[in-house]
């Protein structure tokens, strides 16, 4: 141990920024005079970097489908689900099999960001009653939505068939940031039960669209009213650091080449 008058706990607290100023100043002054103290602080700082650099990428890995399914199934069999229960093989076609990992991850990321963004935008949070909610359908990035995002120019509206019925897709803008491409879009659906709308952002990753954010724009008040598009000033792009928006011409190029950045 060094000859410091400060304990390792104090030096670590300093490295973590958990010390209040008078003590922090004393540590700083001591560290400037004593290399062994400076080295000890450096070690604590480096340990945090090593750990977060090793474990942070886990957050970007796709959540296994079985976990995703297990949580979604909670309560359905009233607790009959057990952890050793083998998951049914998914009854899906090739197209969906290709995308399930992406969807699982996208959906979980979307829920998280959806809540954050919903809050940031001050629009509305997730609907209390999520059954049949448009946001839930969009969170799994159905193929029909992906198709629309692949080929629709921004500002052009089209209809996409989702599980809960047809919905209007409207790409709002496309963005580029250091070689990464994103698209912002809105989806709305009107039915006898009311109108719903969501706004989302998908970004290109390894040749696919991944959902980066999803905000439910269906305000509780407006739910039974006609849906009104969110007014300006609620731009997701700066909040999410999406970069600059593409010109029509640039966008056309990506629409033509399948969103490959070169």
């Amino acid at each position: 141990m060094s000859e410091s008058t400060f304990s390792d706990e104090i030096l670590m607290s300093y490295a973590d920024g958990e010390l209040s100023e008078p003590t922090a100043r004393a540590v700083r002054e001591m560290a400037m005079r004593d290399p062994s103290i400076a080295g000890r602080i450096a070690m604590f700082k480096a340990s945090r970097k090593v750990l977060s650099a090793a474990f942070d990428p886990v957050l970007d890995q796709p959540v296994p489908q079985r976990l995703y399914d297990a949580v979604r199934a909670l309560g359905r069999d009233d607790g009959a689900m057990r952890r050793d229960t083998q998951r049914r093989p998914p009854a899906v076609g090739i197209a969906r099999l290709r995308g399930w990992r992406q969807q699982a991850m996208a959906a979980s990321v979307a829920c998280f960001l959806g809540i954050a963004v919903g809050w940031l935008l001050g629009t509305s949070s997730w609907r209390q009653d999520n059954s049949g909610s448009l946001a839930t359908e969009v969170a799994s990035l159905p193929e029909t939505l992906i198709d629309a995002l692949d080929r629709l120019p921004s500002g052009e509206r089209a209809s996409a068939q989702l599980d809960g019925g047809a919905a209007d897709v409207l790409p709002i803008a496309s963005y580029e940031n250091g070689g990464s491409l994103c698209r912002e879009f809105e989806l709305s659906r009107s039915s006898a039960a009311g109108s719903q709308a969501v706004r989302g952002v998908v970004c290109r990753s390894e040749g696919r669209w991944l959902l980066k954010a999803l905000a439910d724009l269906t305000s509780r008040k407006a739910r039974s009213d006609e849906y009104r598009p969110a007014s300006g000033g609620e731009d997701l792009a700066p909040v999410l650091g999406l970069g600059r928006s593409l010109s029509q011409q640039e966008e056309r190029r990506f629409l033509a080449n399948g969103w490959r950045y070169r």
Binding site: M43, V63, R66, L67, G75, R83, C111, W126, Q128
Partner: protein, 172 residues
């Protein structure tokens, strides 16, 4: 309430997996632990107050579950207590940290540490909780978190054979 609860639980899956991986060291065990945690959280959902931090709440559930599991199955053998690592060798930390270590390397070394040390490593440097928040999750005093954490980090770096660059000691 229950759909909202589920949506938030789903949103926590990536972080629960990271936390579980830091605790267990293998993906298989980590994912089993995450699933068991979600199931227990669901059964206990009446105890969760909407608006409260679900991440800390589920971390606590996972921590308790894991302790139960070790007791029940001796799955991971007998964990040495934190005092087993009282003696931290002296290092001068003069060598530069070369690049970053892989997850496997770091995870392997973490598994050599006692469970209470893994817990504080998982919560503070990895999950980014403050000492106080970690103390609340673990149900121990802040001082205990700090002493375990200081020893765990020194031990980890020593076993990884990593030493800090002396120039990088000022707060970011």
């Amino acid at each position: 309430m229950s759909e909202e609860f589920k949506a938030e639980l789903l949103s926590l899956l990536p972080r629960l997996r990271r936390y579980a991986l830091a605790k267990t060291g293998t993906r298989e065990q980590a994912d089993d632990l995450v699933q068991a945690t979600c199931e227990r959280a669901w059964r206990a959902r009446d105890q969760w107050k909407p608006g409260a931090r679900m991440d800390y709440w589920t971390f606590r559930i996972m921590k308790n579950l894991y302790v139960d599991e070790i007791r029940a199955s001796s799955l991971r053998g007998i964990d040495a207590g934190p005092d087993a690592l009282e003696e931290i060798p002296d290092h001068q930390w003069t060598r530069r940290v070369e690049g970053s270590m892989t997850l496997a390397q770091v995870s392997d070394v973490m598994q050599q540490l006692p469970a209470p040390m893994r817990d504080v490593l998982a919560l503070v440097p990895i999950e980014g909780l403050s000492y106080r928040e970690a103390a609340e999750v673990l149900g121990v005093p802040v001082g205990t978190v700090m002493s375990r954490l200081a020893r765990a980090r020194a031990e980890l770096m020593s076993r990884l054979n990593l030493t800090g660059d002396i120039t990088d000691w000022t707060p970011a």
